[in-house]
């Protein structure tokens, strides 16, 4: 089976107070476990983030990240800079939403996966340093994998 190239940006910006960013998806390991038979996964991020796959490219310049976005079949990210860069390059992907609102910060061409709008934070424009982490705000890895297969992996 030909596996498709997929780019993942698992983590949002490190918070100034050192706390876990409430935008970070908690089930990456399980999701990657389900995807690896279908996808060749490349991870991007900063050097102090946890490595999730063998191909982890750290602290890349924007030009290189842009190339990876252009070359991948699709990408998977949390609410970070990557969906915005990808939108600029007109490359749809998957965004794993938790407490931030895809209607405000998302783009309609992407697969925006949100568990429950009632769990969104009331004030979408406050600093994230003050936001407690809620693991229950995210869709399960199984649900995410199912929806990704339907959108991007139908031919496999």
């Amino acid at each position: 089976m030909n596996r498709v190239p997929v780019l993942i940006a698992p983590f949002s910006k490190r918070l100034r107070n050192g706390k876990q960013n409430a935008k970070n998806y908690p089930y990456w390991d399980e999701l990657i476990g389900r995807l690896h038979n279908y996808c060749v996964i490349t991870q991007i991020g900063s050097k102090d983030e946890r490595q999730l796959v063998p191909d982890f490219r750290k602290d890349l310049p924007l030009t290189d990240i842009t190339t990876l976005v252009e070359e991948c079949r699709f990408w998977i990210s949390v609410d970070s800079f990557l969906p915005h860069l990808a939108h600029h390059k007109q490359k749809p992907g998957v965004v794993l939403w938790g407490l931030s609102d895809p209607n405000i910060f998302g783009y309609p061409e992407n697969l925006n996966l949100i568990k429950d709008r009632s769990l969104l934070r009331k004030d979408q424009f406050l600093f994230w340093e003050d936001e407690p982490y809620n693991v229950n705000a995210f869709m399960s890895a199984e649900q995410v994998f199912t929806l990704i297969r339907l959108r991007f992996l139908q031919e496999i």
Binding site: P61, S80, P83, H84, L85, H87, N103, G106, D123, Q124
Partner: protein, 570 residues
Amino acid sequence: MDNIKYSIIIPTAFDHLEKDLKPCIESILKYTDLSNVEVIVVSNGCTDETDEYIRSLGDPFILLSYPNALGYPKAVNKGIDVARGEYIVFLNNDVILLEQPQNQWLNYLVEPFVLDPTTGVTGTRKNFHMEAGRHFIVFFCAMTTASLAKKLRLNEEYGVGTCDDVEFCVEVENLGYKLVTVPLNHPPLVTQPGQVVPTSTFPLYHLGGSTMYSLRSNDYHRNALSIAKKYNPSFYAQMIRPKVLAFVPTKDRYDSLALTLQSIALQTVLPDALWIYDDGECKDLRNDCVYKHIFALLSQKGIDWKVIFGAKKGQHYGHQLANKSEYAYVWRLDDDEVAAPDVLERLLSRMTDNVGAVAGSVFIPGESQSGGSPLLTDIFSKPNLQWMPDTGTYSPEHLYSSFLYRSNIVDYDLRLSPKAHREETMFSNSLFRAGYNLVVDTSIKTYHFRMDKGGIRTNTDSDAFLFGNDEKIFKEYLERQGIKIICLNVGLGDTYAFLNLLPDLQKKYKHLVIGVCYSEVFKDIPNITLVPVHTVEQIADTNIYRWCGERRWDKSFVEAFRTMLGVVSE
């Protein structure tokens, strides 16, 4: 009558018979041997019984009568044309010969001609004519040879009069003849520039007023210009030069201000006036041990100076006063700047018809910079061209600090706070927008003795508010020119989100100046200037998160950017 030796020519006009002419002629009759004299009275435009009086005198009085006033040189030339004497005497109708042996006055006048054939003109007083740059014999009583008089005549282009005697004397000297004051055995009465010495030993009284007071000052000015143009080109250049006002606003810097004023007083070309606009302590400095000498120096140099006390509203109020004055050009310097001696001369030489303002370099000695830009859009990110001495000549869009400009073209913005931040940027750029060129010649040097107190650096509690107010006014000024300032103090993702509206922003504005944290996002995008965020934070209040939070925004983030920046999606 044969063998006429002296032809005395007396022009007279209007109604000077009783007050001037009759006493003059009666004194001639009393003290002159008329046996070898003819007195030619040129009556022109006389409204009294002058003609009848002269006719009644008979020989040797000759009347030349003209119904209209001819002006002094033309009237005298009429007399020259008919004169038969060997020597011609020019005599005003308001001259009275004083008691003397008969003919003494004529003997005094003719003596130099007898002794020295290179004598051209003799007279009782020799003055220095500033505009011609030469000495001349004043023609209220003067003698020349008939040959010289008939050869040169007086220049009738001088109309009513003045400067005709000056030109005659210059031409006489140019032919190699001398101007000699009489009596010969007395110390010569020769004036130096700016000095007038009254006639003393010649037996004559000259009233002076009846002829001079009939002249209008603009007659004199026109004639003075003409004679300067002919004989004194460098002075003529200064006469026709537009008048220059040097303007120095000052606040709490009396120490460095003294250096500024001294540098103005020692210029190779001086300003016509100097205004010191004291918007600080407003102290009377006339008895200060340093300033009394500086003010005396300014006066000695002929600079019309004054001190204006401001109302502490800011130097731009003073600048606008200067800008609206009657002076054609204003040369502005700060109170901590010292101009090299040739600055004004060189700035003036650059002020051609299409130029609105000229500047030189203005820099702290030993601290010149590089990488300056002529563009207004680079004001947030690059040094000013004027901070780079000896790097060439430029045509910028705005000027800094010290420059010479044409007054009464554009205005200073009086809405600025007392800090007057950006006042010269907006003013000079307005000149540029009005169609004038701005010139910076960095070889023309003014030294900035930067002070850590005084001026706009006088710290007050309201500094941030005042600077912020001025930056807002400057931002509005820029937007009127099609320049939009945006501060993107946001993360990388939000910066990419902003890119969505960039094409529409570029359709709306001629140029974008964007303060960014991630400049690499904007690689290769034309017509934008990227600057560090901190340089535009105060001027561009575009905090998108605060804006959204205040409005409880629930639409897309890109739409929020569009709405905040007033850009409609097409």
